[in-house]
């Protein structure tokens, strides 16, 4: 019996350029990259040097403070280059791939055992531990910590999100193994969420997991929303979150001992000439995909969705853990008296524009900010998009003034940046909410460790 929740606060941003179930085939590249920038909260320490050979699943770098947190290579080949920025900060480790991938074999794991320590060890050494996010702070989980619960998010409700059932097709055994492996890691519950408005994915119904169902508006597909409804995080709690789309990767690491971080990735957005699903590994160079399927004229390419994704170059590499590519127009043009016009065709969550007359219209949104940054003026605006028992504006203020005690009291442990993404879109004052939350979590973490 699954528990059901309806999310009433929020907004579904409808964009043009949905990905139809159209197979764009395998996309591979000659070089692959692993970037520490994809992992907030990690101080990278390199495990390889340029010129060394690696196999898929060999450690590229690990966290200086928590050496058990390892980030592994998605392919086998030769480490071609370590790109560094200012102060020798590591930006990317580039691997020149072999034509056929060989895997570092860690051996299959006996899932019938219930040895948590061994399972934790297997998570860490195969590299799939990096797919788990730990709350509070929203950082890569350490296998040394024991989570209260694990939330597996099987709801993809973001703008232009892929169809999870289609993306997981044919991977039932790996999905089941992944859930089995996760269940070894906690004495609490493993919750698996599903979208009540999409077809139920049978593979996600596992006897060691508690099924939860969400209907209503986005952010129903943001795991923070789900946690807040089911069992909010208290101070001192650790909760792990995993995207259901990552389960097959975890499953394969346990069934075969191999690290093969690939997805059937949704390629969508108004600038995509041929939308569909491409099968790719993390860190794949995007040049061949973008030149073939995306109109690159004044385009922003995003790894992930428009709410939480990261900007990538057309010749850049696919960021870690992103199972979607979105391409939308850049909004670098001015608009004459745009703030006075009635705005029948403008996207707004607010009735101040007349576009509310057409609730089902799909928009071709660009990246324009639609105004300049201001101080907080409008109140009660964020509450409409954050279905949690918190006061978003007061919490943000406490972060801005650096009042750690107040942040704790107001529930900073319950949030990560993505929970504020929708509010950031709606913000009249154009404030960088996700960045503020990230800064707050970082300063809190520094204080706590």
């Amino acid at each position: 019996m699954s528990q059901s929740f309806k999310i009433r606060k929020g907004h579904n941003i409808k964009l043009v350029g949905d990905a139809p179930k159209n197979d764009l085939g395998n996309v591979s590249s000659t070089t692959y990259a692993v970037s520490p920038l994809d992992f907030p909260g990690i101080t990278p320490k390199l495990a390889v040097k340029a010129g060394e050979n690696v196999q898929a699943g060999d450690v590229i770098f690990f966290d200086k403070d928590r050496p058990e947190v390892k980030i592994c290579s998605p392919v086998s080949g030769e480490v071609a280059e370590v790109k560094r920025g200012a102060k020798r900060k590591i930006l990317e480790v580039i691997v020149l791939a072999d034509s056929t991938i060989t895997y570092a074999s860690h051996g299959a794991f006996d899932l019938s055992s219930s040895d948590r320590g061994a399972a934790a060890d297997h998570f860490a050494k195969t590299g799939v531990g990096a797919l788990i996010t730990s709350r509070p702070y929203g950082v890569v989980a350490s296998m040394h910590e024991e989570p209260r619960d694990i939330f597996v998010n099987g709801v993809q409700s973001g703008p232009l999100a892929g169809d999870l059932a289609y993306q997981l097709e044919g991977k039932d055994a790996e999905v089941a193994a992944g859930l089995e492996a996760l269940s070894l890691m906690t004495t609490g519950k493993v919750y698996v969420s599903q979208d009540g408005e999409a077809s139920n994915i049978a593979a996600l119904n596992h006897d060691k997991a508690s099924a939860i169902t969400f209907t209503g508006k986005h952010p129903k597909g943001v795991v923070g929303t789900q946690i807040a409804q089911v069992a909010p995080i208290n101070k001192g709690d650790i909760v792990w979150t995993v995207n259901a789309i990552d389960l097959p990767i975890i499953g394969r690491a346990f069934l075969k001992g191999e690290y093969a971080p690939g997805y059937k990735l949704a390629v969508a957005g108004s600038k995509v000439t041929k939308a569909g699903y491409a099968t790719m590994l993390q860190g794949t160079n995007l040049a061949s995909l973008t030149s073939e399927h995306i109109n690159l004229d004044n385009t922003r390419i995003i790894a992930g969705d428009v709410l939480t994704g990261s900007k990538v170059e057309a010749t850049g590499f696919l960021s870690f853990g992103k199972s979607q590519i979105t391409a939308i127009p850049e909004g670098n043009s001015t608009e004459f008296f745009g703030w006075v016009l009635p705005g029948f065709g403008k996207f707004s969550t607010n009735r101040a524009f007349w576009a509310w007359l057409f609730p089902n219209r799909k928009y071709d949104l660009d990246t324009n900010l639609h105004g300049e940054e201001r101080a907080f003026v409008v109140t009660g605006e964020y509450d409409k998009f954050i279905p949690m028992d918190i006061f978003p504006q007061q919490l943000l203020r406490s972060i801005l003034i650096g009042d750690i005690e107040k942040m704790e009291q107001l529930g900073i442990y319950e949030i990560v940046p993505e929970d504020f993404a929708l509010a950031e879109v709606a913000c009249t004052s154009k404030l960088p909410l996700q960045q503020i939350v990230r800064d707050g979590l970082n300063s809190l973490r520094k204080e706590m460790i």
Partner: protein, 403 residues
Amino acid sequence: MKFVQNIFDQTRPLVEKDGKRNILYPLHNALETMAFVPDHTTHSGAHVRDAIDLKRTMVTVIFAMVPALLFGMWNIGRLHYGAFGEESTLMDNFLFGALKMLPLITVTYAAGLGVEIFFSWKRNHPVNEGFLVSGLLIPMIMPVDIPLWMVAVSTIFAVLIGKEVFGGTGMNLLNPALTARAFAFFAYPTWMSGDQVWINTKGDEGAQLVDGYSGATAMGDLATTVGQGLNNPATETVMAQFGSEGTYSLMNAFLGLIPGSIGETSALLILLGGLFLIFKGVGSWRIMLSFFIGGLVMAGIFNAFAVNEFMALNPIHQLMLGGFMFGMVFMATDPVSAAQTETGKYIYGFLAGFFGIMIRVFNPAYPEGIMLAILFMNVMAPLIDHYVVEANIKRRAKRLANA
């Protein structure tokens, strides 16, 4: 629109950092961003954004004020010609009022924006849109005959002390427009109350006021009944004006055909603006509704325990008079100075309306009790929010304790 863009592009070097007229940069930026929504793109967080910005929010409020403003202009002319017993057409009335009103508006904007631009330049940030609304609110709550320099001084005081010392738009404790009015009220009481200022009576040379013409407001007249007891023959003539045939009849008060501050008289058009704001999601219905209920409750209590005619006035009639409706729709709802939590807004609105009527009736020296009540609640709003937020904190602590 290329030529407009060209003008901005050509003048930009003058006002930029090393330019000769750097102090004008905020003005240049304000005008440019007004003419063109800038080409800024998202660089962190979400990649797409809502079309709304503060300019849109503020201009929506201005649209909501326009009906009351136009009516106020017409009413100025109507009262003026009426005082001299002259015939006038709708257009005469309106044009006369517009000629009185435009200098007031111009002076307010010039004084207020001057201060804003100076601070923007000093603090190196763009001019905020908040004053677009304040600058129109201030003339609407002034008596028609107030000298322009007083308006300018009040506005400068309000922007400086009411807003900029706290850090500018978004940081202020008090509603700047009300601060301007409060300043004018206490600094120049003879120009802000009594029976001389509400109707423009500096008529054409030689013209005579109609015999027995009183230019007082309903509030001023009602204040004279305090201390006279109920059904006192002495107050009969005053109260007759509040009867269905009188100047201040419920219908006249509702429509706005009475003397008063320029924009505050027509309850009907203010309500229309209020509904527009609620519909657009810009004004808080929580504040407006609870404000109305608060006023109604207080007026109801007075009505039930009346010891003078002022208290005995029909509660609905009471709310239609003075600045109550204007305060409810346009003043109490200022998001920055109001309570910021949704629960807090109910409490804030209710108490502002409640105290507004209380001050007005208990202290007839302050006929504009609404203004003082809202300012008082502006100061109290953070306290209300504190308790609302504290409840959330306690709930969270309790959850932790039970975990």
